[in-house]
Amino acid sequence: MEFALTTLGNQPLIAAVEVGKHLTWQLGPLSVHGQTMITTWVVMLLLIGLTFIGTRKLQRVPSGLQNFLEYAYDLLASIARNQIGEKQYRAWVPLIGTIFLFVLFANWLGQLPLRLFHIPEGELASPTNDINTTVALSLIALVSYIYAGLRKSGLGYFKHYFESPILAAVWVLEFFTRPLSLSIRLFGNILAEELVVAVLILLVPILVPVPLMILFLLTGAIQALVFSTLTASYVGEAVEDHDDHH
């Protein structure tokens, strides 16, 4: 469905809100959402380029970009350390950090005026505006915390499923609701942000949406923090010693 606003006297269209319209590409047997692919690659290029430039000519006393990157690393490591624990957080910093940075940059990319670039159908927006991206991210989280649990305690990781039939139902339910709520939370928040901005632009195109867009920079960062913290805490629960647990 599409809402359109035309100014008085049938001027041409100035703004429109559209949801669920995608530029579809056919790659072999797969059909992919083109605008999500484009923005995902832009985010990846930004992240890889930034770290590549920042890690040339490493110095013992960092300055400039290297300093900033080390600060960012400390932040990411502290997310993992708080949830997983001092002993074994180090192996999980790459996963948690990648999730955090990807989601953060993806959310912030959506606040740029991307709709100025016209593509044949749909419009450019955050990659996290597409539920396929967020489901993929949450499946990565699911697979990695199951892997962590299996590596820690072998098949004993699934022991708690067999303790009592009622609790087993709860555990099975939790198994499915974790990735579901992870993905829906991120997707819904970002979609809601972009809808609010689109509706405001539809009503007042100039200046009025700016404070909200600044607010959405904050909420985008918080969503990235929530996603990575939750992933870290699931991993942490899987790798912790089971003696004092449940």
Partner: protein
């Protein structure tokens, strides 16, 4: 889509987001007031309290977002379009 379905979808969308905002609203109010109390009692813990508060507010927020998602589906991707 016939008229009845369209009208019912719009009302359902409004109810979904409106009702879903009640509980999280109360919860976020409680959380924020307790956090303010905590900061007043122990100002040196402000950073930690703020971090925890923001994180838990995001969790409550997501409940409203679920309602919003249902209403967005009803408005933009209605399965009963026919």
């Amino acid at each position: 889509m016939n008229d009845i379905t369209a009208a019912a979808s719009v009302i359902a969308a409004a109810l979904a987001v409106g009702l879903a905002a009640i509980g999280p609203g109360i919860g976020q109010g409680n959380a924020a007031s307790k956090a303010a109390e905590g900061i007043a009692r122990q100002p040196e813990a402000e950073g930690k309290i703020r971090g925890t508060l923001l994180l838990s507010l995001a969790f409550m927020e997501s409940l409203t977002i679920y309602g919003l998602l249902v209403s967005i589906v009803l408005l933009f991707a209605n399965p009963f379009r026919g």
